[in-house]
């Protein structure tokens, strides 16, 4: 479904991503793990067209999307939950969710999607009228995921949903991520919490200094001695 070939990202002279190749099949959850500064966020930014790739190409559902306008990415069916959540702080929770549905016009369907999101995150319903900037970090993460779902995406790109959250909240968020996946969503999951990411995915890629150094079934990576030493703290 998503095919990334030879993707290269640089900030001026800094090579953040050096020619990486990977793919995500329909219905799969794939983890992309790696240490700080490995180039995970840069990869997602290039796929979602927040950044221009220096080289390589990205195909989605067979279509070349490497150079399309950024605001068309979501219309192709790709929704990004950005690192640090990126909620609109001075819009209400409900307005944030409506921004997620920006590309849809039929109010009836948007109402249905809203019900679906509130089904996954009942807390958001309680906070509907509150400004998003006043939500807790966990609630903002819920909102960012809910907002992405409001676009009815074919694929979700999640950038470190566990970042800065208490373990209980991480559990809650990942329960929903697994539920969304079980309902058929294709997911590319970026995490520093490698154990959690590999436990929640079918396949995984390990990124180091801008390159993919390992890949395979998540269960296999969990048992890999190198992965255990470098990312699972064993």
């Amino acid at each position: 479904m998503l095919e990334v070939t030879g993707l290269h990202v640089a900030y001026g002279g800094i090579q953040a991503v050096r020619s990486i190749t990977f793919h995500v099949n329909e219905g799969e959850t794939v983890a992309l793990i790696g240490a700080n500064g490995a180039g995970k966020t840069s990869t997602l930014k290039a796929i979602s067209r927040v950044l221009d790739a220096v080289g390589g190409d990205v195909h989605f559902c067979g279509e070349d999307i490497t150079r399309i306008a950024p605001h068309h990415i979501i219309r192709k069916g790709i929704a990004l939950v950005p690192e640090g959540r990126g909620v609109f702080p001075r819009l209400t929770v409900l307005e944030n969710l409506h921004m997620g549905a920006y590309i849809h016009n039929a109010a009836v369907d948007v109402e249905k999607d809203l019900k679906m999101v509130y089904g996954y995150f009942p807390r958001l319903k309680e906070r509907e009228g509150q400004l998003a900037g006043t939500l807790s970090g966990g609630e903002q993460q819920m909102l960012a995921i809910g907002r992405a779902l409001m676009s009815r995406p074919k694929m979700l790109l999640l950038d470190e949903p566990s970042m800065g959250l208490a373990p209980i909240m991480v559990q809650k968020i990942f329960e929903v991520v697994r539920a969304v996946a079980a309902d058929g969503m294709t997911i590319l999951l970026i995490e520093q919490n490698a154990r959690l990411a590999l436990q929640s995915s079918q396949r995984g890629y390990v990124m180091e200094s801008g390159e993919i150094t390992l890949n395979g079934e998540s269960a296999m990576l969990l048992d890999d001695p190198k992965v255990r030493a470098a990312y699972l703290g064993e």
């Binding site: 990126g86 702080p89 409506h98 997620g100 676009s151």
Partner: protein, 307 residues
């Protein structure tokens, strides 16, 4: 006491004009952090277009009301097109340039527009056609005219319309989202270029309405009139907290009232040394005081709602 009430009324009228112009500054600033110093010139062109269109229609024998409305419509359309073109031609290519670059460009555009207006309309003062009947009213010893009432009402209605647009429509929501986080708004499918262009176009339409009001009020116009008006409206926007819609409205009205009271009392205050023609200094005293003591303005806290 009656001079006090009189000056409050005069200030309210002048202030509603400042408020409309200030909204143009604040909308553009809120969405892209740019101070569009050419905005005062957009207002001036609105006034001069009305003179040409309404003036020639009246000469051709059209009823004044029809000519006036046609003049207003023409001014709004021309200014919207001008705002769009300014963004497209002058500012969009500089979107990623250092902040000083678009600012200098804005000053340059202001000079270009003044000269363009001078070439089209000449260097002389022009008379603005009388579009509204002259009627006077009295209240508690203060006088006011029908024109003043209409200026305040039209300004209030226009601002109400703007608030509805920004807080009740999808475009308005997209504008607020873009002001808060353009990269994420773009991920949601918002075409940032269009939203920024919309801010320019809407701000310019408000400016055109203000331009017609200025002409109707003072009955005189000139290719340089946009400069001082623009500076004062900018002051009003800063006073209210630039980037904040309610701030621009309140800042405009406050500035109008401060100026009118200042002009009313400056003679007494200085023992007759300075006359009311010194009223312009008040706007700049306000600007300096705000920048010194509360540069974020009245509503300019980080939590304020920007659009």
């Amino acid at each position: 006491m009656d001079i006090f009430l009189q000056q409050i009324i005069n200030g309210l009228v002048q202030g509603s004009i400042y408020a409309l112009v200030a909204l143009g500054y604040t909308m553009v600033y809120g969405i892209m952090g740019l101070i569009n110093f050419a905005h005062g010139e957009v207002v001036m062109i609105g006034t001069l277009v009305t003179i040409t269109v309404a003036g020639s229609l009246i000469k051709a024998g059209m009823p004044v009301a029809v000519a006036g409305l046609a003049g207003l419509m023409a001014a709004v359309l021309v200014c919207m097109a001008l705002g769009w073109a300014l963004e497209r031609v002058a500012y969009r290519p500089l979107r990623n340039a250092p902040r000083l670059t678009p600012l200098i460009t804005a000053i340059g555009m202001s000079i270009v527009l003044q000269n363009l207006a001078m070439m089209i309309w000449g260097r002389n003062y022009m008379t603005f056609p009388s579009l509204l009947p002259k009627m006077d009213f009295e209240f508690a010893g203060a006088n006011f005219t029908l024109i003043q009432i209409i200026i305040v009402l039209v300004s209030a209605a226009t601002m109400g319309g703007l608030l509805l647009l920004v807080y009740r429509t999808k475009l308005g929501m997209a504008m607020r989202a873009t002001a808060q986080n353009p990269a994420v708004a773009s991920l949601m499918g918002v075409n940032i270029n269009r939203v920024i262009a919309a801010a320019f176009v809407i701000g310019s339409a408000l400016g055109a309405v203000a331009g017609v009001m200025v002409g109707t009020y003072y009955e005189i116009a000139h290719y340089q009139m946009g400069f001082m008006l623009g500076l004062k409206a900018f002051t009003a926007a800063v006073l209210g907290g630039i980037g904040n819609l309610a701030g621009a409205m309140l800042g405009g009205i406050l500035l109008g009232i401060i100026e009118a009271l200042g002009a009313g009392y400056i003679g007494d205050l200085t023992g007759g040394f300075l006359g009311s023609h010194y009223q312009d200094i008040f706007a700049f005293v306000v600007l300096i005081v705000v920048l010194m003591f509360k540069p974020s303005g009245l509503f300019g806290e980080k939590t304020g709602d920007r659009a």
